[in-house]
Point group: D2
């Protein structure tokens, strides 16, 4: 079997791309998972040795033996005995002295190893691969948001022109939402827990040796940098991993929203941004002129693939009594979510690096609605200056403007009923009515503020 004999697009395409693979394979491939399990087995025997249950020689032998265990051999053994963890144990035992054999895996149940190894690799993948790239994305966004903080853009609600903002302000929305996402992912990954409480969580086996088996559990996990769950059965409480996946899926939703915004801004009629094309890149197989936003579309598409998978994790919260195994196969798919997410982060990062901002188009689009934009400040200021029914008045004038094709501004300044109100407007207010491009509120300032806030907030993580 080679790469293209695989069925998962992750394995033949996305995860296996050099960028994703180099970042995630140390944590998330099946090979890596085996290494993590071995690491946990090692931590266990070291603790047994510290607690004088076995000799330090046994721990050293195990350490050497573990280096010889290969994932291929485990799968070979598993085919025979149909027990994955026992296969791992058998292979370690094969390479230690008879004297040391009994201490491999002693007091542990399969899921002491499994769940602890998973916690560890999910934490590592998050901290060493996901968060650094998400921080890169955040920095990139901040850079562009600051750069474009004064770039006039029409604000859009319902796909309709509303009142103006700046493009930097629009991007600062994502600075803020991704900043928050980073914080939540960080928190959730700090919270994952391991366990060494045995087959049903009551420390039945380890209490054969230890008066305080929770202290022993603490010792094993400490070496790995993990805390134990407050309570566990055969498995750790599922809510910690669920919270981590939720934080990722929630962040993925933010990326999908960003991608949607970007691809709509590339619509032929809008054309406010573009993606720089590489020289040899082909836009369409039959329409050579097209520049399709397929990278942004890809991010949205990956979100559609991975978002629903959290439903599996919600279903996996339910495990009967001290556990059933109906979460076992499904849990093996969990790493894929990290891979899909990282692929989209990296893709967006590359896209932002070659993002072209068409300021002229932004202005052109703004100009389309320039006249109508003043409806809002007008109605508000008229209200303020005591017009009893400003919203309705302006609504009618806009209709009249559209029907008679006379600019709203002209209708307004010629309207006898409005004169006495308009005369009360202060200078700044009149300026805005006359120059709607100034009606951007505090867009530029806010863009900057949001960027600086998150820069500082995340500085400890960078």
């Amino acid at each position: 079997m080679d790469k293209y004999d695989n069925i998962s697009p992750l394995d033949f395409r996305y995860y296996s791309s050099e960028e994703v693979f180099s970042r995630l394979s140390p944590y998330l491939s099946e090979r890596a998972f085996v290494n993590y399990q071995l690491k946990v087995e090692l931590s266990l025997i070291k603790a047994l040795s510290k607690k004088k249950i076995c000799s330090s020689k046994a721990a050293k032998e195990a350490e050497a033996a573990i280096k010889k265990v290969k994932v291929e051999d485990i799968y070979e053994e598993d085919k025979k005995i149909k027990h994955y963890t026992k296969s791992v144990v058998n292979l370690i035992r094969k390479n230690v002295s008879d004297e040391s054999k009994p201490f491999i895996h002693l007091t542990a149940t399969s899921f002491d190893i499994f769940d602890t190894a998973n916690a560890l690799r999910f934490k590592d993948a998050t901290k060493k691969a996901i968060l650094p790239e998400l921080l890169n994305l955040e920095k990139n966004l901040i850079k562009i948001a600051i750069r474009e903080k004064n770039t006039l853009q029409i604000g859009r609600t319902h796909g309709q022109h509303a009142v103006p903002i700046t493009f930097g302000f629009a991007l600062s929305e994502y600075v803020s939402r991704i900043g928050y996402s980073i914080k939540k992912i960080k928190e959730a990954s700090d919270n994952v827990v391991g366990k060494f409480s045995g087959a049903v969580g009551a420390y039945n086996a380890s209490s054969l040796f230890f008066g305080n088996p929770e202290e022993f559990e603490f010792l094993v996990l400490k070496e790995l940098g993990l805390k134990p769950a407050t309570h566990s059965t055969q498995i750790v409480e599922p809510e910690f991993n669920l919270d981590l996946i939720h934080s990722i899926i929630s962040a993925f939703g933010v990326l999908a929203n960003l991608a949607d915004d970007m691809r709509h801004l590339q619509r032929s009629e809008i054309n406010e941004i573009a993606e720089e094309f590489e020289k040899e890149q082909v836009g369409s197989s039959t329409m050579p002129h097209k520049r399709n936003p397929w990278n942004f579309e890809n991010v949205k598409s990956m979100w559609k693939e991975f978002m629903p998978r959290i439903t599996t994790i919600y279903m996996d919260q339910i495990s009967e009594h001290q556990r059933d195994l109906t979460n076992s196969a499904s849990q093996r798919f969990m790493p894929e979510i990290f891979a899909g997410f990282l692929d989209s982060i990296l893709r967006l990062n590359k896209l932002l690096n070659k993002l072209i901002v068409n300021k002229e188009c932004m202005i052109k689009n703004f100009e389309m609605s320039k006249d109508m934009i003043i409806a809002e400040p007008l109605y508000i200021l008229l209200s303020y200056y005591r017009h009893p029914n400003a919203h309705e008045e302006i609504r009618k004038l806009t209709l009249e403007s559209q029907q008679r094709k006379i600019p709203l501004k002209d209708l307004v300044f010629k309207d006898d009923n409005l004169k006495r109100y308009l005369s009360k407007f202060n200078k700044k207010q009149i300026e805005i009515i006359k120059n709607p491009e100034r009606y951007t509120g505090i867009a530029a300032k806010k863009a900057e503020k949001v960027c600086r806030y998150w820069e500082k907030e995340l500085s400890s993580l960078a």
Copy 2:
């Protein structure tokens, strides 16, 4: 239309039950929502008055006017003008002097009101209805877990007898998971935010009046006990509400797991717990002898109904540009999730109050596997005492025991090869092999510890 003309089972059955309704209707009915919007409008005009944009008289008039607004009238007006928020505004304006009219809703956009009102009522519903009842459930569970901390029960993995625990220990799993859920729900509800940043989030309107419109936003929200989002568009960042719903759905999964455990323990063959039946209650329409665990089944069923709905909230993260309205109708359904969840909490609480624990059945079930249970401590201790291949040895003896129908214990103590290992067992270890009911690890102690931990951890909320 009366109750039974409704289509939603919440409205004709679950939410409308006295218990749920009395707790949630002040926050979550449509009537309540209108009241919350009015509250927000009032906070706005009060802030306008504080900032001298309008007179204090206007604020007072508004306060009086607001009391007269009825949800029925709003719906009437909405039918005419097809704009919900504008209908609310019109109705307030109708009841104030001409002079005050312009200041109603001044500087606000519909979703300044909507999103802020939603944040407020979700927060209130969580703190005043959901959390107190969840704390009651937790207390109830703690009480029973402590009471049953020494009640012997066979531990079960894969539906198979494993090694023994205590029933209190089994319940302490849920004490821990619900405790954690309470913490997370609390955190998430503390995090919801309001907004007063106008139509596209850039404070376009409010900056017509204020040099620092963020400070004005802060003022309006402070009165309501809310913080503003770091950034907003026409709407607040969706991740805060999503996190709240996630914390609820995650907790709902814990309840569903508890319910599943309880209903399986009621299986005819297991029969370890029962639900006290009321005198007139009918078990089955054709099988009068049956005692069906339909309340626990109901909790699982409600989870199946509401869990998938978080997918809607994940989809609603995506809103184009400064917002589209494709999250509007869907968002209106969000309160239902609270109602479904509360119904299940109250149901479980009532169930726990009449939970019958059949200790004799627990012992009877334990006795079934009593002999086989020692396989685990045996293999572990044999390993410890240097048996080179204990797991395999014991596995074979268990097969022999099953085939020859001779107790495993007898086979073990008669096995010549094992003698020299058994002679090394210390007294406590021999006791466990001879009395497997003592092989419960630290189940009782752990049950108590978990309960006390969460009692303390949650004491500030109670």
Copy 3:
């Protein structure tokens, strides 16, 4: 409790709108459900009478008694005895002579009644409410598609201008997909089944009286116009209802896609269609000039609310042994899906009736890309006339055209290398290159064909 005390937006807003309510309440309100159950009980006693198990007098008494049963009384009784179906039975029995009492519900289990009543009302709701309105929508679409079959519109892929079509062709996509949806919904609703096989599906009770209890089941169901399932347990096989819900959710997806297309065509920059506003309608609370496509947005939003609910139905496929009750509460929510769907159908229908097609904008948008459009036919024809590398050649010319701001057509006709190929083009082909608006393929013809096909295909349903 009145309407606005409800929590479900269906009950206070969508389902309770006159249009939806008048169509669906006879089938889907709780009141209606009770009526359906009574109908099934009546069919049962009639069959018992036909089979001489009871007298025809008993059947007549039951018929009279059933008319007196009110949903309110059932809920009252249920509160006491905690058994819904038994409550129904008790209330019927109360109104018949002692002699007839025993025959009410005789041989039936609750879910014989429940599942049969559900099948019946879902079938009725589909055939009498959903399908007629969906057919109306289809007719409306056909009318517009035919009317606009020659209206030039730029085709769009990836939000980018591609090659031209006609607006009627674009709409005929939905004629086709909705046509197919109607067929599938019809099929699925024809397939729902009832059951009268007793508590575990083995006809235990009815075979106390009948040698061939399946024939008795057939008799009861025939009166109701239903077939029995091939096999049933306490409940009917869940796949029939699931298929019906799937056909609805799939159709809902088509509506959502139509809505998305329509709202994007309303974007300020595109402006190809519009929704006629009513005179008093308000566009925005602060931006009086806006015409938001909120009805189309609403359809998308309702899809987001209801699509995920099919996950519940997929989960409800699993019921332990001869059934557990974990699908009971969840199943009660199933009617809501019909209500959400019908609301969207009716909304779209109304929208189509006031759809404004801006042909000038369509032409204007087409003109934007007019020149580039010829890239496709050019490259294809060049290939055909033996140009060895036409796609690449044209791609380069489009880049040159964009950079030098010279029309592609001019570059092409001036290109010495292309001359010898262009000279081979036949007249029609040259015409298309010179008049790209003719490059619409068979758009108009296809639009007509699709419409006529579905008109005929669905004529038996209309």
Copy 4:
């Protein structure tokens, strides 16, 4: 990268198992997909040749060239030009004469090839791999159901003993539901369609050459054994693939239900079935005596992984205008659903082959409730013989029986009030009351009937 460097459990574990891989890789690996695309390109050029657009020599050259194209080269090319289909085209063109080059892919758009290739491989995978194995499973189930049609088993509702059935009857539920699933999957796979209507579905390109381009499309697809969609845009209507996936997910739910039933019947306390263990198989890493139903658990777990993925397909129904690409990456994952499903079918098939039915345990469990079982027939017969309140009467006697620990039967036959009714019971009825094991209705007959029905119904597929 080798197998264990993959991240997808399908690729390193499930799909790559010999059994699944040998069945599905000809259709579903990336390598296979490329072959299918080449097949479609070939069909296209053959049709062009038939229609005299190109020479038959060109078609022959293409046929030879296509054999040389390797997936690895396509990925190499794609890296350079970032266009997958164009890469395929380039590689074919490289291996034909200059003269033939222009005709490769002529008139086609990428998704003419993609969607047609997908339809074809999904159809093939379904018919050649999925359906045959599902039919095997059905046959296996039928064999066992017939064999066990008379094996007494207690029927269970709510996990509680209800009235008796036979184990064959219980299995015939799955014979029926899987039979129906097979029929629906077959139908849905017959319905998938291809397309050759060009970039926006209006046959713009092909109508440059053909007066009736639909006839040309028909020709290309006929060679492949496919029909065209009634309408297409750049892509085929998504509902056909969705219906196929729905039919698979629905069938998967049936398998999950079967697995759940089987694993619960293996509970230690119930123990009615068992899975024969292989000699070297290990039950638990710490509890050597355990026989865990992990294969059945695996089926449930795989269902939990794959069921939610249909949400992606529902979301992919929505594609803007003549298509956007947000369904592209997500669609690539669709084949995984087939693989997960087939793995579970094969697993269940193997499990059924080594299913041990513990008839004694079935009898033992039945005996537990033997006495109470008669409550149902008693109450029904008493009703029939004119007891005015039989249900209530029997309910009270069952309570009395439980409290006084006197068999219900004894209470009944000693009850003075019941005597006059009991005396009317006919012989068969009295026999059932005295021998509740006869109260199995028509379980055995129905089991047989259901099996024979589906045997016949599916005979044309076998």
